[in-house]
């Protein structure tokens, strides 16, 4: 860190004891950033801002929410009807969950397209996957809090997944519930953890950024930064670009909050939880649909392993497998721009994930032009794992990448535009 001298005596006093000003200056102001980042690089900072919005609205909502089976549903409706701007905070929070996942999924796919997970950014990627897992746990428990029918049955179905664990499965489920079904103790602990986990995510984001700032951002060419001619200071270039992106994003986000606040929701969740009646058609929130499809795709035992256990393992495996991506992909070239074959299958993978989501939204016996939904789900599940475990390693070895530019600045200047 270059020692800086500050003229303001208070700043100077603090700086001498805690060099926070030079730290901020170094990491946010003059921080050298590749000059060619495109708009796909906006989604990281966007996700961070949504986290802050979620924590801020969540803290205020928690002031009026009552985590008790007799009052939870009514207290949420009291927030919607009686608390000043309660409806606004609640709709921002519930739609914010969807916004968070949209942004993080785009962020994740951007990393996959441009090979941002490759050396030396493996840990950065792994921390990112851990953040995704923490987000999923937070979102799941948050969805239970309004204590509607979908809340209750999502909690029941998802906690029951753990009953697939051999030998101790039932004990684990009872332990998760704190009783013999999803009930008041379950709601209470979910509330506790839903409040805690966002701060864990906040800490993880900090570590994520720390790891990012060691080797700096990847870029659309995937070529390392070679010198000062390849970079521009983060401020003002990327502060303004990120802020503009934030504005554009907020327009879309706020449109849903004000004009279609229940677009991502299910009508059944406006019916108070009833442990005696399951809704005809239970579906998780859209961001869990692909995993739900994978879970339900496994309908067959393999050898002595029951289908239920394989389904659960496949579902969790579909995320955990991402942890190994840096080593499954052996190609030295990061960006798909210079990888003709990988570039094609990347989009196949994107479409595959969308198909999984669509299958997750439908019942397995539903019929799609004569094809059972279950079969589509099984094919898409197979491709998901085939893509990551077989195709990615294979392509990375067999493919001949196109010639890389010598440097970022060389890639940017001759064409005239980035």
């Amino acid at each position: 860190m270059a020692a800086k001298s500050y003229s303001n005596p208070i700043v100077k006093w603090i700086e001498y004891r805690l060099p926070i000003f030079s730290f901020l200056d170094h990491e946010l102001n003059e921080y050298p950033t590749p000059r060619n980042l495109n708009y796909w690089w906006n989604f990281g900072s966007l996700a961070g801002i949504i986290l802050v919005i979620m924590i801020a609205t969540g803290i205020v909502l928690a002031m009026s929410y009552m985590p008790h089976v007799n009052y939870a549903f009514e207290s949420v409706e009291r927030i919607m009807r009686d608390v000043n701007y309660g409806w606004l905070l609640r709709y921002i929070h519930s739609n914010g969950g969807s916004a968070f996942f949209i942004v993080v999924y785009i962020h994740l796919f951007r990393g996959m397209y441009y090979g941002s997970y490759k050396a030396p950014r493996e840990l950065l990627w792994i921390i990112g996957v851990v953040i995704l897992l923490a987000m999923m746990a937070t979102a799941f428990m948050g969805y239970v809090l309004p204590w509607g029918q979908m809340s209750f049955w999502a909690a029941t179905v998802i906690t029951n997944l753990f009953s697939a664990v051999p030998l101790v499965g039932e004990s684990i489920v009872t332990w998760l519930w704190g009783g013999f079904s999803v009930d008041n103790p379950t709601l209470n602990r979910f509330y506790s953890l839903h409040y805690l986990l966002p701060f864990v995510i906040f800490a993880l984001v900090f570590v994520h950024l720390w790891a990012l700032h060691v080797h700096k951002s990847n870029n659309p060419t995937g070529v390392d930064i070679k010198g000062p001619q390849d970079t521009i200071p983060f401020h003002p270039y990327y502060t303004i670009k990120d802020t503009f992106g934030l504005g554009a994003f907020m327009i879309v986000f706020m449109f849903f909050v004000f004009f279609a606040p229940n677009f991502f929701g299910e009508p059944d969740n406006y019916i108070k939880a009833n442990p005696l009646v399951t809704p005809a058609h239970i579906v998780p929130e859209w961001y869990f649909l692909p995993y739900y499809a994978i879970l339900r795709a496994i309908t067959f035992d393999i050898w002595f392993i029951p289908a239920k256990l394989i389904g659960v393992a496949a579902m969790f495996g579909s995320i955990l497998i991402l942890l190994f991506l840096p080593w499954l992909d052996r190609s030295k070239v990061r960006s798909a721009t210079f990888r003709p074959i990988y570039k094609q299958v990347f989009w196949v993978f994107v479409v595959d994930c969308i198909i999984l989501g669509w299958v997750g939204a439908n019942t397995p016996d539903a019929d799609f032009h004569g094809v059972k939904m279950l079969w589509i789900g099984q094919a898409a599940t197979f491709y998901y794992f085939f893509h990551i475990v077989i195709l990615i390693p294979l392509i990375s070895v067999l493919e001949t990448p196109r010639a890389l530019p010598d440097s970022i600045s060389q890639a940017v200047t001759p064409g005239g535009k980035s």
Binding site: W358, F368, G416
Partner: protein, 257 residues
């Protein structure tokens, strides 16, 4: 960059196609309610006060015999244009349980504006016992809790028919074209001229269905008018701010490009 954009477009097209297919597959669950024209449709929609007040009359004289509206308070009725005195009179006409009094007993007293709508039955079991085992659902959130919202409520009210030949009706059930499964425990609630509208509107079944659906939509989303009004302002503000940010971004980046 361009190629990536093109492929994203292709992926989105697949997504849209799948969405349409899914919509077609779901239609099997019960007749899709025909779309009505509502005063609260669209970005600037508001509740037609007269229709909502007529709808309240229908709820109060017909639905309230079996269906609670427990999340709505009498004082909320100012949201559809009732005046303070009218609200007091509406509340006072209802018996509300209160207590315990100094003797430790629960008692009924006339309602006050701050009270939530009085329930027709003391609890769910009492409601079931009085309705052949069927529980009339609370209507506070009914338009948000059913696919189709106000359209569905309207369709359900006008959807009673003779069962088609070959359909075996269960004891005490009615055939309704729009109810999931088509067999509903609720007898046709509305009959021609059942209520007398003060404004002279003719109380046809379709008219009452429309009015009560308007009232129930308001009951479920009393914040809607404020939400849309604020939404327009927020979006206009964000569009201006984002345009300014874009101009600033262009300006700052001129020396890089």
């Amino acid at each position: 960059m361009n190629a990536m954009r093109k492929r994203l477009g292709a992926a989105l097209a697949v997504l849209v196609a799948l969405g349409l297919a899914a919509g077609a597959a779901m239609a099997a669950e019960g007749g899709k309610p025909p779309a009505q024209t509502w005063s609260f449709d669209g970005l600037f929609g508001t509740y037609d006060r007269a229709a909502a007040q007529r709808g309240f009359l229908v709820y109060n004289t017909v639905c309230a015999a079996c269906h609670s509206l427990s999340l709505v308070a009498y004082r909320n009725l100012d949201g559809i244009g009732f005046k303070d005195d009218a609200i007091k009179a509406i509340a006072a006409a209802k018996e509300v349980p209160d207590g315990p009094n100094d003797q430790g007993e629960m008692f009924n007293r006339p309602g006050r504006p701050a009270d939530r709508f009085a329930r027709p039955f003391a609890n769910d079991n009492a409601a079931r016992a009085a309705n052949n085992g069927a529980l009339p659902p609370d209507l506070s959130l009914i338009t948000k809790a059913r696919k189709g919202g106000a359209d569905y409520i309207h369709a359900l009210m006008v959807g009673y028919k003779e069962p088609p030949t070959g359909v075996q009706m269960m004891e005490g059930m009615q055939y309704n074209a729009y109810f999931p499964g088509n067999q509903i425990a609720m007898a046709p609630p509305l009959t021609e001229g059942q209520v007398e509208y003060a404004d002279g509107t003719k109380a046809t079944v379709a008219q009452m269905a429309h009015d009560v659906a308007t009232f129930l939509t308001w009951a479920a989303e009393p914040e809607m008018e404020e939400r849309k009004r604020m939404g327009v302002k927020v979006l206009l503000f964000l569009i201006v701010l984002t345009a300014m940010l874009y101009a600033l971004k262009r300006q700052i980046w001129t020396d890089v490009h």
